[in-house]
């Protein structure tokens, strides 16, 4: 084993351990803010794994989109719904947890036996393309052109949908009653009360 292979192996093991530990942290931490930060650690270690798999463009996209956008969005959502509430304890909740853990472990065993028993025809004789960005760009504008354009429409739809869903209904145009000489400056838009759903 030469030096490059050793470095590869050590970083692979480090990144996998970091990823699995951080993923467990996302699921098991009581505090949701800790979960969000460990989610960022998961994303960063996955980006490192992509570099080990010769996928440099995907790794950069992973860091930019997941760590830079999705994780920050989740942190914003945590801040917006930041209500320190203690959830009401449910009876027999441990049965659910144990049965879910059992199902997850069984699923993992199933997948592991499938992975280990299949005869993968790994072909490492062909060298990877010199520039993966070039190859991905060629794919985008030749055989994956229609999904590429549809993705842009989907992003636009998601943008408009998110704005429509999260918008507050404000009352615009109704004058506030003036008491005294100067009207008190209104610092926030009056919000239309939502009728609670039973």
């Amino acid at each position: 084993m030469n030096l490059a292979e050793g470095v590869q192996l050590v970083s692979l093991v480090l990144l996998s351990v970091m990823m699995l530990a951080a993923a467990l942290g996302v699921v098991l931490f009581e505090n949701i803010v800790y979960s969000a930060f460990t989610l960022g650690a998961v994303f960063i270690s996955i980006a490192g794994l992509y570099i080990l798999l010769n996928a440099d463009f995907v790794s950069a996209a992973q860091i930019l989109i997941y760590v830079g956008a999705v994780n920050v969005l989740i942190l914003f959502a945590i801040m917006l719904v930041n209500k320190r509430e203690a959830f009401k304890p449910l009876p027999r909740r441990w049965i659910r947890k144990i049965s879910t853990a059992f199902v997850s472990l069984a699923l993992f065993t199933l997948l592991a036996t499938m992975v280990l028993q299949t005869n993968w025809t790994v072909d490492l004789s062909l060298s990877p393309p010199s520039s993966s960005v070039e190859t991905i760009g060629l794919h985008f504008f030749s055989d994956y052109l229609l999904p590429f354009e549809l993705a842009s429409i989907l992003l636009l739809m998601a943008l408009v949908g998110a704005v429509v869903l999260a918008r507050r209904e404000t009352i615009i145009g109704e004058e506030t009653a003036i008491v005294g000489e100067e009207p008190a400056p209104v610092l926030e838009l009056p919000e239309r009360p939502k009728e609670p759903i039973a």
Binding site: V27, F57, A112, W120, A166
Partner: protein, 101 residues
């Protein structure tokens, strides 16, 4: 560095995501678990693209698409959580029983 290791890693991440998706009570944590699931699939795609399809990397193209869809899903999902939080004044999954029969 072989294919099976990466596939096992992705399977473990997927199962952790399933566990979090089913058991967590905070709605934001459910969204985080969905992100874990999508990332497990992405690891699979990139590993297959590296080991089985090294010349024309179709798996990486699919991964970019999955990342795009995941970003859109996160935005819409968090908007839904925000609006349901305004309605019910909680993020507890056990109290979101509007569609319960």
């Amino acid at each position: 560095m072989n294919l099976e290791f990466f596939l096992l890693l992705a399977a473990a991440l997927f199962c952790i995501g399933i566990y979090g998706l089913v058991t967590s009570r905070n709605a934001v944590r459910v969204l985080m678990s969905v992100e874990l699931l999508l990332n497990a699939v992405n690891i699979n795609l990139v590993a297959f693209s590296n080991f089985l399809d090294g010349q024309n990397i179709n798996g990486q193209v699919f991964t970019v698409f999955v990342i795009t869809i995941a970003a859109a899903e996160a935005a819409v999902g968090l908007a839904i959580i925000l609006s349901i939080y305004r309605n019910r004044d909680t993020v507890d999954m056990e109290q979101f029983n509007l569609l319960k029969w």
